[in-house]
Every structure is written in C-alpha cells, then in structure tokens.
C-alpha cells in the first residue's frame, strides 16, 4: 500500500503542475496583453505600461508563474480588479455555497443510483428494469438548467412554496439548506441517471462471477448474496465514475447556481468574466482543477483500499 500511495502521490503532484501550466498558459500567455484588454482600445501607451507594471505583467513569464504558484500555496490568490479586494475570501465565501450544493447533489445521486441500480439489476430484462433504464434516458437528456427552470415554475411561480432563488446565508442553517434543495435536485438528477446505469451494469457483471455461485451454493439467499458479495465488488467502478463525474458536477453547478442566483463559485466566475476580472477566473479554474484532481486521487486510494488487486497491479 505504501508503494502504491507513493506512486499515486507522484502522479498527483505531476498532474497538478501540468494543470497549473495549462491554466497559466491559456489565461495569461495566449490572450496577449491583459492591461491593454482591461483599459480598452482608447488607452494611451503610458496608461497601459503603468497598469502592466502595477499588475506585474512586465515581469518575465517564469517570474509571474512562480509568483502565482507561491501565492496559491500561501493562500494568497491576488487582488480582484473589479472588487478591489483580496480574491481568497471571495472564493472562500462562494465555496460555502458551491461545496454543500455539490455534496448534496452527489449524495442524492448516490442514494437514487444505489436503490435504482440494485432494483434494476435484480430484475434484469423485466418491466422494472426497462422502466428504470427508460427513466435514466430521460434523466440524461433533460438539461440540468432546464430542470431547474421547470422546478422554479412549479414550486416558486405556481405553488409559491419556495422563493425563485437567492441564498439567505448560513446564519439560518435551515433556510440555507432549504435554498439548496431544488438546485441539488436539478444538479443531481443527471448524475443519478449516469450512476444508476453504472451500478446496474457493474452489478450484472458481478452477479455472473464464480464467487456468486459459491455464495449461493453455501446457502445464502439470492438477495443476501447480492448485497453482501455482488454490491461490494460493484462499488469500485461506481466509485471511479463518481470521481470522474465530479468535474461535470462542478461544471453543472456553475450553470445551476446561475438559474437560482446562488452566490457560489460558478456565479463568481461568470460575473468575473463580464467584469474582465481575469485573475478571479484563473484562480477559480485552478481551484476547481485542484478539487477534481485531488478527489480522483482520493477515489483511486479508496478503490485500492476496497480492492487489494488494484494495489498489486500498480506496484
């Protein structure tokens, strides 16, 4: 396990370095002179030079990259051009909305997927299986932001049960969680559809294995064998897909936050795009990449902990 961890850590570090280089290249090198873009076409060369100097844009690329990374490591994300304040607290506050939203959506998706996946696999080829698979097709096809708008129409516009959007803050936890329920459903449904399909097919594969025959032969009931032997074995692909889907979940959160006017990371980044506040977007994208890469690292380690064969294969 130690060797496996060491190998995975090395890959993690290398991946993070490459990710930071890509983000830096797309945001800072490709677009040309950021100061010129910020000041517009009417700016005098002196003003552009002054702003370039103030933003440190006149420094060599390697120095700028090193400063950015050193700042990230210290938790100093720089200063927002639009808000005139430090970026770290802005992003920190937005994460207090986005992370709980993503966690609620993932929990919802996992709960639905486990129940529906087991149900469908247990009834393979019968009406219940077909119904679940049909529903997953619909779950995959409905865009999360449309589902979000439809829920606003039903629950806010027609029934007037909940406000159409906004976030009351964590001072009132009950209302804060309530404000995240519809967004979490909108975000979780597509993930639930994907995970249900993965759970079902992983279970069907596990059900065909020799150890299942052994379990039945030693007298376990079909259902007991399914829960005790097939499901733990099916969890590795499910966990892996959950990890891979996390990136899409965060991307989806950006859109859904916008429907419900939630002050999350996605909304902050979109506002920063219209404010031409490039550094906020750069930090935000990098943070999401770190979260995604870090989570997939944890999933790899978790899978290796569940299934010793994965450790040996890597070593």
């Amino acid at each position: 396990m130690a060797l496996f961890l060491l190998q995975r850590l090395a890959v993690l570090a290398a991946t993070l370095v490459v990710a930071s280089l890509v983000v830096f290249a797309v945001m800072e090198i490709l677009p040309g002179d950021a100061a010129e873009t910020m000041l517009g076409p009417t700016a005098t060369p002196e003003a552009v030079a002054a702003l370039s100097h103030k933003l440190g844009l006149d420094l060599p690329l390697s120095v700028r990259y090193a400063r950015w990374i050193a700042g990230l490591a210290r938790g100093d994300l720089g200063v927002s051009a639009a808000y005139g304040s430090a970026i770290a607290p802005l992003i920190g506050a937005s994460l207090l909305v986005s992370l709980p939203l993503a966690a609620m959506a993932m929990a919802l998706a996992a709960a639905i997927a486990l129940a529906a996946g087991v149900y469908a696999a247990d009834r393979r080829g019968r009406a219940g299986d077909a119904a679940v698979m049909g529903l997953t097709q619909i779950g995959l096809a409905v865009p999360n932001f449309w589902l979000a708008i439809l829920m606003v129409i039903v629950f806010a516009v027609t029934l007037r049960l909940v406000p159409a959007g906004g976030f009351p803050g964590w001072g009132d936890p009950a209302r804060a969680v309530a404000a995240l329920i519809l967004p979490a459903i909108a975000l979780g449904v597509a993930q639930a559809a994907i995970l249900t399909r993965v759970t079902r097919s992983a279970l069907l594969e596990a059900l065909n294995e020799d150890y299942m025959r052994t379990a039945r032969a030693k007298g376990l009931s079909r259902r007991a064998a399914l829960w005790r032997h097939a499901l733990p074995n099916a969890l590795v692909p499910v966990l892996t897909i959950m990890g891979l889907q996390f990136a899409n979940l965060i991307a989806g959160a950006i859109v859904v936050e916008n429907v419900f006017v939630l002050p999350g990371l996605g909304r902050l980044m979109l506002q920063s795009i219209s404010n031409r506040d490039t550094l906020v977007v750069e930090d935000g994208v990098m943070l999401i990449a770190v979260l995604v890469i870090g989570l997939n690292f944890l999933v790899d380690v978790a899978c290796a902990a569940i299934d010793p064969r994965l450790r040996q294969r890597a070593a």
């Binding site: 097709q137 409905v142 708008i149 891979l244 950006i254 994208v285």
Partner: protein
Amino acid sequence: MRVLLRGNFSLWLGAVLTGALLLMAAVSLVWTPYPPAAIDIPHKLAPPSLAHWFGADALGRDVASQILAGSRVSILVGVVAVGIGLLFGVALGLFAAFRKGVAEDAIMKACDFVFAFPALLSAIMLTSAFGPGVVNAIVAIGVANVPIIAKLTRATANSALAREYALAARASGRGPVAIAFDHVLPNIAPALIVQATIQFAIAILAEAALSYLGLGAQPPQPSWGRMLSDAQTVLYNAPRLAIYPGAAIALSVLGLNLLGDGLRDALDPKLRARRS
C-alpha cells in the same frame, strides 16, 4: 437495414427523433414562419395561435421560428466538436496503439488529465481570455471530446491488432498506416460511430448550457440555450416560453442517446445473436 431496425425500439425512436432534428435544421435553412430575429413589439408575449404556433417572446419574436433556426447552432456545434474529437482522438488513439510503450502511456495520462477540465470549465477559461462566441464553445467541447475518442480508439485498436488478420497483414510486410486504414479502422468503426453519436448529444447539452450562460451563440443568432435564459426573465408572465426550447434540447439529446444505444445493439453481432 431491415435486420438492423427489427425489434430495436431504441434505434427506431432514436432515428425518428434525430431525423426530426436534422429535418428542422434543413427546413429552417429555406423557410421559417417569420424571420427568427425579427422584433415585433406589438405582439410581445403573444400566446400560441395559428399565426404564432408557439407564441411570441418578450420582444415579439416568433418562438416557432427561433426553435427551428436554433437547431442549426446545436447541429453545427455538435458536428464540428465531434469532428475535432474524431480527427485528433482517432489519430492519437491509433498512434498509442501502434507505438505502445512510453508514447502510449504518455497519451493515456494526457487523456486522464483532460478529463479534469470539462467542456464547460474550458469554455469559461477560453471565454474569459478571448471573449464569448460559438468558436470558443466549439473548441472547448471539441477538446473535451478528444480524450474520450482517443481512449476508445486505443482500446479497440489494441484488440483489433491482436487478431489474426492484423498479424497476417503485418507478417506480409504491410506498414502501420496501411494496416491502420485497411484492417484496424474498418473494424473499430462501429464502436467509434456509437461513441460519436453519444458525444454529439453531450455536445448539444454543453452548447445549450454555454449559450444559456451567455458564453456560446451570441445575438441575433437564435439558440435554444439563449432562448431559455431570455425566457427566465419573463418566467412569471409567460412560463410557457421556458418549455419549448428545453423540450427541443431534451428531445434532441434523447434521440441521439437512443440512436447511439440502438446502434450499439445493432452493430454488436454478439448481442444480435443473443436476441435472435
């Protein structure tokens, strides 16, 4: 073709829905009830009628015309983004399968890496750096498609290369390019077609999300995603405006996904043998 379609409900429904999407785009090229971008304030928020089948939006634009014309952006983005994915993905995947060793490892590691940047995130980055527009959306979605196609190509090409016909071709002295085109590609094409269909669906969803956020198609070009964000501003007065474009997206995506699933069943001889 008859054998292909027999008893395959997914393929039927998928083909009909996808055909309808393509037909809409084709019709919109020569005819829409009104010019899709024509503003007509006196008829703003007009309810559905014979003159305006789906009513008119907050600026009096005919919704049916916009739905028809909006299919074009979806198809354009889907075709080009999937094209980018196939072009680079197949090339990288084949290269990895033929070269093996370090090249294969490096390409596969790079593919895993790109998964960390979903299309929407890349598009946000590109838009922030270069400004919004359809081209950035296409590039972002296309780049996200490359690793998916590359991984599939490598996996299927590896198993094709291990078969007797590929070994025989190699033994008879044929070069890798000839083997790739004559023996590997024809054998992995079904898997690629199925995946391309599903990526097409994902591209339509991504384009709609980007246009909804204002990062994709720009006015006056009609797009389903932007229609939804326009509809959201008049949700209390005319919630119906949010129904049509969303339904158009969902039905298109459903059609392509079903078509992909149906094609997989139809093109996989093992599954077909089991059914008949």
